[in-house]
């Protein structure tokens, strides 16, 4: 595998070094130069095919006395719909014992050999010491040909899967994987499907058997043997165990085509208590394995975030900004649909800043040529990582498999490296234009949704998702433990000045003014001894409506007419006689109230309390979760919802009064003109 330098050359090199050694002085400012490069050579492998179509790849490597057998099943993606998860479970069922060995016996045999055995929907794997290869192969072949599908094992696997789904609710990475797949591929595509408690419950034994029957056929499978085993050995074993394995016809499935978004979209999944946001930015791509852009895309991705420290995302987001421990990008090819995904886990506060940097780095690939230095590092990174990877015979087997799968020429990988070496910056910019889409991304974030949500609106429409990638409502604030409506009222009372100060208010006069296009509106509110109320609305200085409540009677005067206010309405309006209605609610038996829950008003977290005045008259009062102050009142009157907002509280004689009021039916907000307490009020004011 290794081309050695000629002996003479080596001797000269040694002499030179001895010279340096004799001086014992090393010039540390000089970066050592590379020696003669060793030519890249892919490890050797052999192939053959059984009569039933089973293709066999063998990579012999005797460095350690170990061998691995793997069966790989090739099939198109399958849509599982309301049984999402059944394909994985069918794969697990292949470890649940065979027709002659119960699961317990099978496991015991595997473990006794010191072997590792695992199955998935697309592969069966066993590895262990090469001296046990025949025993291992017996178990391996038995699992492939004679799975027993015991019903009780399915129930166990389903129960375990459900527990796993529960557990993953606190696993930000698991939620993030669900979310990005659901967005990039769409939930209608097999790659975007997510298992839930419901879909797992729907899975039957028949589903698993049917999957196995359809797809585990020799003519679309590969048998791969790697390690301390010869082609002759594997041929004997394969023939003995698989010659009688019958061929089948692989069903084809039709797939939806994932959509690339027109504009960036933000998808957020909330994770309670998260200290980091898991960011993944992605979109689907039409990029098939070994396509002509493959080498250029690998190199482009290496520059952006392909796994090295020198990659731009790492240098920018980690080494310069220190937002994360690691950042990456991946451009993945796939026979059906490929994808671009870049991501990082960053602390909550810098979520939006980190996304800005991701998009900036994606854009930079489109607008600037990559420097020669950077290009050289990226190229050498890829070539070096190739050389390192072939240390493992598993890599050689993977390359051999790809060559067979995609019909690649035998020198594909050697040529690929030459191609990499010759790529120019201009070519990369061209390929970036085709594949890098900083304006057509799904920007997914799993984290503290309430802390990050609003800041992400600048990137695109924000939608919220649950753990399974299904759209849901924006999460609300968490209320302090043990909060009650009474406590909300008490908090408000304390926030505006305290019970003592409020109880000292015998009379008050408060005037608000709104300047609208059609003129100036003024509202004057005068109250006395919590039993009398006078409300005057003026338009451009002229009175247009007067409301007076005195005891349990009330009238409205408007446009020269006077009418009595019905009793039911007085029940709610009378509270306006109180400077602080909440104080009255706490003692007045005619009203009831209850805590509704978290809410939001004017971008502030609030707690909602519903007050019921009887006769079907209700209103919802919203209090600031942080300050306790009243932020708004919502009420519905004859099907019309009104919302009053209160803001910018200012102190008058130790009492807080909102300087600004808004009303959903007024075009302009009302500004506080004056607030006076314990003034003399002419008793005639309240005369009815």
């Amino acid at each position: 595998m290794i081309i050695k330098n000629s002996f003479n050359l080596l001797a000269i090199v040694l002499l030179l070094c001895i010279g340096q050694y004799a001086n014992a002085q090393v010039d540390r400012t000089q970066v050592p130069q590379a020696g003669e490069p060793t030519e890249f050579k892919m490890g050797k492998y052999k192939t053959f095919t059984l009569k039933n179509g089973l293709q066999v790849i063998v990579v012999q490597n005797t460095k350690v006395p170990r061998v691995t057998f793997q069966l790989i099943v090739e099939r198109p993606p399958i849509k599982a719909g309301n049984k999402a998860g059944y394909i994985d479970i069918a794969g697990q069922m292949l470890s649940a014992g065979t027709k002659t060995l119960s699961k317990e016996k099978f496991d015991e045999e595997v473990d006794f050999l010191g072997a590792n055995f695992s199955t998935s929907s697309k592969s069966i794997y066993i590895s262990g010491l090469s001296r046990n290869k025949e025993d291992m192969f017996n178990l391996f072949a038995d699992a492939i040909k004679n799975p027993a599908f015991p019903a009780e094992e399915l129930e166990k696997i389903k129960t375990q899967t459900l527990s796993g789904i529960k557990a993953s609710k606190d696993n930000a990475d698991a939620i993030s994987a669900n979310l990005i797949n659901a967005k990039v591929y769409g939930s209608e595509h097999p790659y975007g499907e997510v298992s839930t408690e419901e879909t797992i419950a729907n899975i039957s034994l028949e589903d698993c058997k049917e999957y196995y029957g359809k797809y585990f056929v020799p003519n679309s499978s590969y048998l791969i043997a790697v390690g301390d085993i010869s082609k002759g050995d594997i041929k004997k074993l394969a023939k003995k165990h698989f010659s009688n394995w019958n061929t089948g016809t692989l069903p084809q499935s039709s797939l939806t085509v994932p959509i690339i978004p027109q504009k960036n979209e933000v998808a957020i999944a909330n994770k309670a208590g998260a200290v980091q946001s898991v960011i993944k930015i992605g979109y689907p791509l039409n990029y098939k394995p070994a396509s002509e852009d493959a080498a250029r895309l690998t190199l482009l991705n290496q520059v952006l975030g392909g796994g090295s420290f020198s990659a731009r995302l790492v240098q920018n987001i980690r080494e310069d900004k220190a937002y994360t421990y690691s950042a990456y990008s991946r451009i993945s090819s796939d026979e059906y649909v490929g994808s671009f995904v870049a991501g990082a886990s960053v602390r909550t506060e810098v979520t939006d800043s980190a996304i800005t940097e991701f998009l900036y780095e994606m854009n930079r690939l489109l607008t600037e040529d990559i420097s020669d230095e950077e290009l050289e590092i990226a190229k050498n990174n890829i070539i070096g990582s190739f050389a390192r990877s072939v240390e493992s015979p598993q890599t050689v087997a993977r390359f051999a498999l790809n060559m067979s799968r995609y019909n690649l020429p035998s020198d594909y990988y050697e040529k690929y490296l030459v191609t990499i070496k010759n790529i120019t910056a201009a070519e990369l910019r061209e390929v970036a234009k085709k594949y890098i889409k900083p304006e057509n991304c799904y920007i997914t974030v799993v984290g503290n949704a309430r802390a990050v949500g609003k800041k992400l609106a600048k990137f695109g429409t924000v939608k919220y998702y649950d753990n399974y990638g299904l759209e849901t409502e924006a999460p609300k604030a968490e209320l302090p433990k043990g909060l009650t409506a009474e406590k909300v009222f008490e908090n408000y009372i304390n926030a505006i000045g305290g019970r003592e100060k409020i109880e000292a208010i015998k009379t008050f006069k408060i005037i608000y003014e709104a300047k609208a296009a059609f003129g100036t509106i003024e509202i004057e509110q005068i109250a006395s001894n919590n039993s009398k109320l006078y409300l005057l609305v003026k338009m451009n200085g002229n009175p247009v409506q007067t409301t007076i409540i005195n005891g349990d009677k009330g009238i409205v005067q408007a446009m020269g007419k006077e009418s009595e206010i019905p009793k039911e309405q007085i029940a709610s309006m009378k509270f306006q006689m109180n400077f602080c209605e909440e104080l009255a609610y706490l003692t007045d038996k005619t009203v009831s109230y209850k805590l509704i829950g978290p809410d939001e008003i004017n971008n502030k977290d609030a707690v909602a309390v519903e007050v019921d005045f009887g006769s079907g008259i209700k209103s919802t009062r919203l209090y600031d979760l942080k300050t306790g102050l009243l932020l708004g009142i919502r009420s519905t009157n004859q099907g019309v919802t009104m919302e009053n907002g209160y803001a910018d509280y200012k102190e008058f004689d130790g009492i807080l009064v909102p300087k600004v009021q808004s009303n959903s039916q007024l075009p302009a907000s009302l500004n506080l003109k004056s607030a006076d307490f314990n003034i003399k009020v002419d008793p005639k004011t309240f005369k009815i």
């Binding site: 595998m1 290794i2 080596l10 070094c17 340096q20 050694y21 014992a24 090393v26 540390r28 970066v31 050592p32 130069q33 590379a34 020696g35 490069p37 060793t38 890249f40 350690v64 006395p65 170990r66 317990e104 496991d107 015991e108 595997v110 473990d111 006794f112 010191g114 262990g128 010491l129 090469s130 001296r131 129960t159 375990q160 527990s163 796993g164 609710k169 606190d170 696993n171 930000a172 208590g273 998260a274 200290v275 980091q276 090295s308 420290f309 020198s310 240098q315 980690r318 220190a322 937002y323 421990y325 886990s345 602390r347 590092i377 990174n381 070096g384 990582s385 050389a387 390192r388 240390e391």
Partner: protein
């Protein structure tokens, strides 16, 4: 200038052993740097590694996390390497590099094309001789380390499982804190701390240079001499001498975490790695949870279905460490019933000898692990350094398997009765935070 202490290793015949023998040479430079060279021509690459005998147990109690933080800083550059260039040299050469820090040691490595051995030696010698870090580097790495902690521990379910056990199991010994340490301590670190730490621990007499791969041994020696022999020897290395008295009764506690499923965790104090009892405990831990047919997997997970996951593992450390068993409860299963089932398995180990077949099974497992573990050259370089640093016996890489094979069924029963007992353990229930106020 250089003393060759080449140990020509007489081939110990190990006919029962599957493992292919790993040949190596080793010697000390005058400044105390220990060098290990292993030639392996199977791929045109070389692993250049340096292991420093410093970990979180060498930290001051008011500077926890410093060893790991310092590891981050040592990628920042040197007198001859500008900030950010350290990585670039390696990557431009087509190599990869990284490092990690444990309680006992810090390990740096580069894997390079074999024609870049000299570069790797220059880089590591720069790091050892005159590493340099500026204000920007320090501030950046402080934040990066905080993100690493959030990623690995705070934002990961059961992420602090080991930390919660250790902080209760040790009262005095520095193992009571984890290598990630305290972020406040890292923030508080001063220039004086950096200087002292570097001067004390990053010296050739506290390091092992271990090289594996497609190398020319003579050439490698020349270069090693050129780059490393001029690095001044450091002083005597301070090592923690704190003994930790054994646990005398069970410590029970509850940890509330951002999790959905409760977990039961049992941590037992055990002897240091390399002791006879330690090997027996490793075998015991495999009896409990290695493979589908292992006792906890078979009984607790598959038969009784009380747990989603069970695991038993030893934390082999230079000073007495721990054996940790844990189970994550299946949905709707109570930690109490899970714990009772786990306890039942321990009781069996204390009262009954494991069968000959079961012993043979775990022996086969260990053998497979040895063979698999030594297949990549970087791990070979690391293990060689490990065996030298902890035991002064590099050749254990070829012989340690025999220590495991010596363990008898009686040994396993004996260590179960000595260590796997309630008075010697920390028992924790990890419960969902949502239950915190109910209790």
């Amino acid at each position: 200038m250089r003393k060759y202490l080449i140990l020509l290793l007489s081939a110990v015949s190990l006919s029962t052993q599957a493992q292919n023998k790993i040949e190596f040479e080793e010697y000390d430079l005058d400044n105390g740097l220990h060098v290990i060279l292993h030639k392996d021509e199977s791929a045109p690459i070389v692993a250049v590694t340096v292991m420093y005998h410093v970990g979180s147990k060498n930290e001051n109690p008011d500077r926890t996390g410093f060893a790991h933080f310092f590891e981050h800083l040592l990628f920042e550059g040197s007198k001859n390497i500008e900030r950010g260039e350290y990585d670039n040299y390696v990557e431009k050469a087509g190599g990869m590099l990284n490092a990690n820090t444990s309680m006992d040691r810090t390990f740096y490595y580069e894997v390079l094309p074999s024609n870049q051995l000299q570069l790797g030696l220059w880089l590591e010698s720069e790091r050892m001789l005159h590493a340099r870090v500026d204000e920007k580097g320090i501030n950046t790495q402080k934040e990066v380390v905080k993100e690493e902690k959030r990623l690995r521990i705070d934002n990961r379910p059961y992420g602090n499982l080991v930390g919660e056990v250790f902080k209760r199991a040790y009262q005095q010994h520095p193992y009571k804190w984890q290598p990630i340490g305290s972020m406040d301590h890292i923030d508080a670190a001063s220039e004086e701390d950096y200087k002292n730490f570097y001067k004390t621990f990053y010296v050739p007499n506290n390091a092992c240079l271990s090289i594996a791969g497609d190398i020319d041994i003579d050439q490698a020696k020349q270069w090693i001499d050129m780059y490393f022999s001029g690095i001044p020897k450091g002083g005597e290395i301070p090592r923690p001498t704190i003994g930790e008295s054994p646990l005398t009764r069970e410590i029970r506690d509850v940890v509330y975490d951002n999790i959905q499923l409760p977990a039961v965790v049992h941590g037992y104090r055990i002897p240091e790695q390399g002791t006879k009892d330690y090997y027996a405990l490793e075998m015991l831990s495999k009896v409990l949870s290695s493979g589908e047919s292992s006792r906890m997997q078979k009984e607790v997970v598959n038969k009784q279905q009380l747990a989603l996951v069970v695991n038993s593992f030893t934390m082999g450390l230079e000073d007495p460490g721990m054996l940790i068993n844990f189970g994550i409860a299946g949905y709707g299963k109570e930690p109490k019933e899970l714990e009772a089932s786990m306890d039942e398995q321990y009781e069996k180990l204390r009262t009954e000898l494991i069968s000959e077949r079961e012993l043979k099974k775990v022996q086969n497992m260990v053998e497979t692990e040895f063979v698999t573990g030594f297949s990549a050259i970087r791990t070979r370089a690391e293990y060689l350094a490990n065996y030298y640093m902890y035991y002064g016996k590099t050749n254990l890489i070829n012989t340690e398997l025999q220590e495991y094979m010596k363990v008898t069924a009686e040994d396993i029963k004996r260590v179960a009765n000595t260590y796997l007992v309630n008075d010697n353990r920390v028992s924790l229930y990890f419960l969902p935070k949502t239950q915190e106020n109910d209790n």
